[in-house]
């Protein structure tokens, strides 16, 4: 057993920032991560970090833009905290040596970004995330913070009171990928989940293979609700074979989208008669999928993004990296042929339900980064707003977990008095694990309240047994098959276009996946670097997370932000200015809602038409 004050799970931008903050607050801190920190997906972020740094800009504008961008589903206290703290935290990165792009006078450069009223996106070349990740890892090395890398966190050690709000988290159980050893990590004051997004729930995503929503799933099963999971951002231009992102810059410079008949469909089919290719991300993504659905897609899969007419000189000058991406990952020369693109899952606005201090309803359990939902992004994330979320809320979670007083949070968490229950959800199948052999979650063992160590030991034992079970079984189904099926169903039915029928289909497939998972087995008999075992665990988590996405999408019958519903293509402020929350509830998920907080420190954000 290992023991620390604060255990941070995940070492992407949010995890690293949390660890540094906890360490600075005097806590003995450790990072437990399934990838070496510099391999985290934060490294893929290109665009930048929004921060109101300059004279003439101010945090209130940033907060306003964010609120509007969220389609009024962000909570004002969270949005305002983000906007207020981002400048200082961005500057701190600069002091830690982050190589931001510079102006002639030596100050950091900022550029305009979609949905921002002021050019406040601070960037470091086209690889802002890479520099952010590496700069913070350097600070972790400097501070000598303990890093357990290539340790896969399997579960949380949480007490088993009936009401999740009464539970306490005492640590995590992790598995050393290199040796197969399963160990308990005791956290004396807090566990912070910073495990990133759940993009692998979809088969086509800009997210890494490691973005499997592990933190979401283990927190969910431990009793913390997942919030606003239906809000998934899809990026219209990703490469079909890998999902690698082709930046909006191509369309910004004048790139044109064509269908297989060579028609400029954005105009010819009237998807966006004014802005064409430059319409907002969701509009373009829907247009592309409509083309494919109506048989005008190339190879029935994608459309073409053509930039050849811009001329070699201009392309080389402004879009050189795009040429490399197309060449390296798709084998296409953007100078002589159009590039294939299709919409890909990009970001999850929802996540583990937390307050401004990163705390969940479970004592001692925190979440930060893309895994968490504070909620800053509401229905739609603005470009450049995820990275500041990592540093601002990562820092707060770290401090709070280390015992610093950050004041009373205004945002509520968990199932409490302020919520409204969903009573009449018309579900095609029983979600959750009801009727199935349970594997994970909080085990009820008759309320024999053990001490922290006892609870940890018990969880370790349970995970050991689970692994033995998976490894001993010699036949059944392999996880890859289930995962592929799940991903396909999600992409087919809970994608950019969502219809009631489709989502129900997806829920049925998810149920099937769950049932099949009962027979899953790990073929690789080795304990050394058994990625088969790890991925089998991840697939289980994906099933749970995918289900919350589908459930949220099913109940939210309106069009808000990134969530589009065929049955109701309007934003419905009357009924839906509220967050969707789904809690595990012992394997029988419960759906409930919490009103959005639109009252800020000084002003209230009145919902307005989201038009740019």
């Amino acid at each position: 057993m290992y023991e620390h004050d604060v255990i941070v799970v995940g070492a992407g931008g949010a995890g690293l920032r949390a660890a540094i903050a906890a360490h600075e607050a005097g806590a003995d801190t450790a990072l437990v991560t399934k990838l070496h920190p510099v391999r985290s997906h934060t490294g893929a972020a290109e665009g930048g970090i929004n921060a109101a740094l300059q004279e003439g800009d101010d945090w209130e504008l940033h907060a306003y833009d964010t609120m509007k961008g969220s389609d009024y589903l962000g909570d004002a206290p969270a949005v305002e905290t983000l906007a207020q703290d981002s400048p200082e935290d961005t500057m701190r990165l600069e002091h830690w040596g982050m190589p931001f792009s510079r102006e002639e006078d030596g100050t950091v450069s900022q550029r305009p970004f979609g949905g921002l009223s002021y050019p406040r996106t601070t960037f470091a070349g086209a690889e802002t995330g890479h520099h952010l990740l590496h700069t913070m890892y350097e600070q972790v090395v400097k501070r000598g913070i303990q890093v357990y890398d290539e340790w896969y966190v399997m579960n949380l050690a949480v007490t088993d009171e009936d009401d999740p709000n009464d539970r306490t988290c005492h640590g995590v159980v992790a598995y050393d990928v290199q040796t197969g050893q399963i160990e308990g990590f005791k956290a004396n004051s807090g566990v912070i989940l910073a495990t990133g997004g759940p993009g692998q729930a979809f088969d086509h995503t800009t997210n890494a293979v490691s973005c499997t929503g592990d933190g979401h799933a283990i927190a969910y099963r431990a009793g913390a609700p997942l919030e606003d999971m239906e809000f998934i951002q899809f990026h219209p231009t990703s490469l079909p074979s890998t999902g690698v992102l082709i930046s909006e810059g191509v369309r910004g410079e004048g790139g044109i989208l064509y269908n297989n008949e060579g028609e400029r469909f954005m105009f010819e089919y009237g998807y966006a008669n004014n802005s064409g290719e430059l319409a907002s991300r969701d509009v373009v993504a829907r247009a592309e999928l409509t083309e494919v659905a109506e048989g005008r897609g190339v190879n029935d899969e994608y459309v073409h993004l053509d930039m050849r007419h811009l001329g070699e000189e201009r392309i080389l000058d402004r879009l050189e990296n795009i040429l490399h991406l197309a060449e390296d990952f798709e084998g296409v020369d953007g100078l002589v042929e159009p590039m294939p693109v299709k919409p890909g899952q990009h970001y999850a606005m929802g996540g583990i339900d937390v307050d401004e201090n990163g705390q969940t309803c479970i004592n001692g359990l925190y979440a930060a980064g893309e895994a968490a939902c504070v909620s800053v992004h509401g229905g739609n994330r603005l470009g450049g707003n995820a990275l500041p979320e990592l540093i601002v809320f990562g820092k707060r979670a770290g401090r709070h977990a280390a015992g610093e007083d950050l004041g009373e949070p205004q945002i509520q968490t968990g199932y409490g008095d302020d919520v409204e229950d969903e009573t009449d959800a018309d579900l095609p199948v029983q979600p959750g694990e009801a009727g199935l052999e349970t594997a994970g979650g909080v085990a009820a063992d008759g309320g024999v309240a053990a001490d922290a160590e006892g609870i940890l030991e018990r969880t370790v034992e349970r995970e050991r047994e689970r692994v033995d079970r998976l490894m001993d079984r010699n036949e059944g189904i392999q996880h890859a098959e289930i995962r592929q099926k799940l991903q396909k169903a999600m992409t087919d039915h809970v994608n950019v276009f969502r219809t009631e029928e489709g989502i129900k289909k997806a829920l049925r497939v998810i149920r099937e996946c769950r049932e099949q998972y009962q027979d899953v087995y790990v073929d690789d008999p080795s304990r050394t670097f058994n990625t088969d075992l790890q991925q089998t665990y991840e697939t289980r988590n994906l099933i749970d997370v995918a289900e919350t996405i589908a459930l949220g999408a099913l109940v939210r019958n309106e069009f808000r932000g990134a969530h589009w519903r065929q049955e109701n293509q309007e934003r419905d402020d009357e009924n839906w200015l509220k967050h969707t929350l789904i809690s595990w509830n012992g394997g029988e998920p419960r759906i409930f809602y919490r009103p959005v907080i639109l009252e800020g420190e000084e002003k209230t954000y009145e919902p307005k038409e989201r038009s740019y």
Binding site: T107, E330, D532
Partner: protein, 291 residues
């Protein structure tokens, strides 16, 4: 559709009672898999069009049939744009789930999947199958110990990276709350730009003969990391000197014999040799001052 070329002794491995339950099911599985795969191989070969032939290095200290390293053959259906990583992922998901390798981002930013492909250190996700001669031989990075299949032990690489004190050291920076920044000229930022792109993939270190022979040699990646800091004007002169002292230790920059293979294999096109040479000159210049 792999035709696994197993060592003969593994096929006739007797059920050793001392190996308890683990061995016989494992053997059974392997046999079953092989039978199944052969059938599948034929079926696929008829149905599918073009395939790519890859030979993948296999080793696992715990699995008897893999204790003696071997190469397994896989024939993976080819699609335009497919990369080496796609091929091994396909082989893992469809043929043999025990095939093990590190990977994550699939877009050349996480640095997990540097392999030795047809005799060259390459990032799996950034290497198009179409550009390679078949059969494509995929091995773990040379000069590092193999943990399993394509996974090598990276600890030494990380130790070397950490050894150059890779972090900003100036303590008396302005208070971030005042939004006061350390000025840096665009030229200076340009100078360190390439060096800051390293994704810690280890390809360079693996390709360097000197690093192979001298375990203490810092290696191109660590030196490049140090370059990024040493050349950054935001750090003070004293700290730069301190950094040069680390670099000019016996196993520092001087060990580099300008073999250039690091520069050639770096997937991020970092001019490593150039950076190392510049640091050698800096170190000499600094020492000359004291003569």
């Amino acid at each position: 559709m792999s035709t696994q070329q197993q060592e003969p002794e593994s096929q006739e491995a007797p059920a050793d009672p001392e190996m308890k339950g683990t061995q016989s099911p494992q053997e059974r599985r392997l046999e079953e898999k092989e039978a199944g795969l052969d059938a599948q191989a034929e079926a696929d070969a008829e149905a599918e069009g073009e395939t790519v032939h890859i030979k993948v290095f296999r080793y696992d200290p715990e699995v008897e049939a893999k204790q003696e390293p071997r190469f397994d053959d896989f024939h993976v259906p080819f699609e335009k744009g497919m990369t080496v990583l796609d091929a091994v992922m396909y082989a893992r998901d469809e043929f043999d789930s025990s095939l093990t390798f590190r990977h994550s981002c699939r877009q050349a930013v996480c640095g997990s999947d540097a392999f030795f492909v047809n005799g060259r250190q390459k990032l799996g996700c950034k290497t198009q199958l179409a550009d390679l001669e078949q059969p494509i031989r995929i091995e773990p990075l040379p000069h590092q110990e193999v943990v399993k299949d394509l996974v090598v032990d990276m600890d030494h690489f990380y130790d070397q990276m950490h050894a150059v004190e890779p972090y900003f050291q100036d303590e008396d920076t302005p208070d971030p709350a005042d939004l006061e920044e350390q000025r840096q000229s665009p030229e200076n930022r340009e100078k360190i730009k390439m060096s800051s792109r390293c994704i810690w993939c280890g390809a360079c270190m693996s390709s360097c003969n000197i690093a192979a022979g001298d375990n203490e040699y810092l290696g191109p990646a660590a030196i490049n990391k140090a370059y990024k800091f040493a050349m950054d004007d935001r750090e003070s002169e004293e700290i730069k000197e301190h950094r040069l002292r680390i670099l000019e230790q016996e196993h520092g920059v001087w060990r580099c014999q300008t073999q250039f293979s690091c520069t050639e294999v770096c997937p991020k096109d970092i001019p490593l040799t150039e950076h190392i040479q510049e640091l050698k000159r800096e170190a000499v210049k600094k020492n000359l001052k004291f003569w």
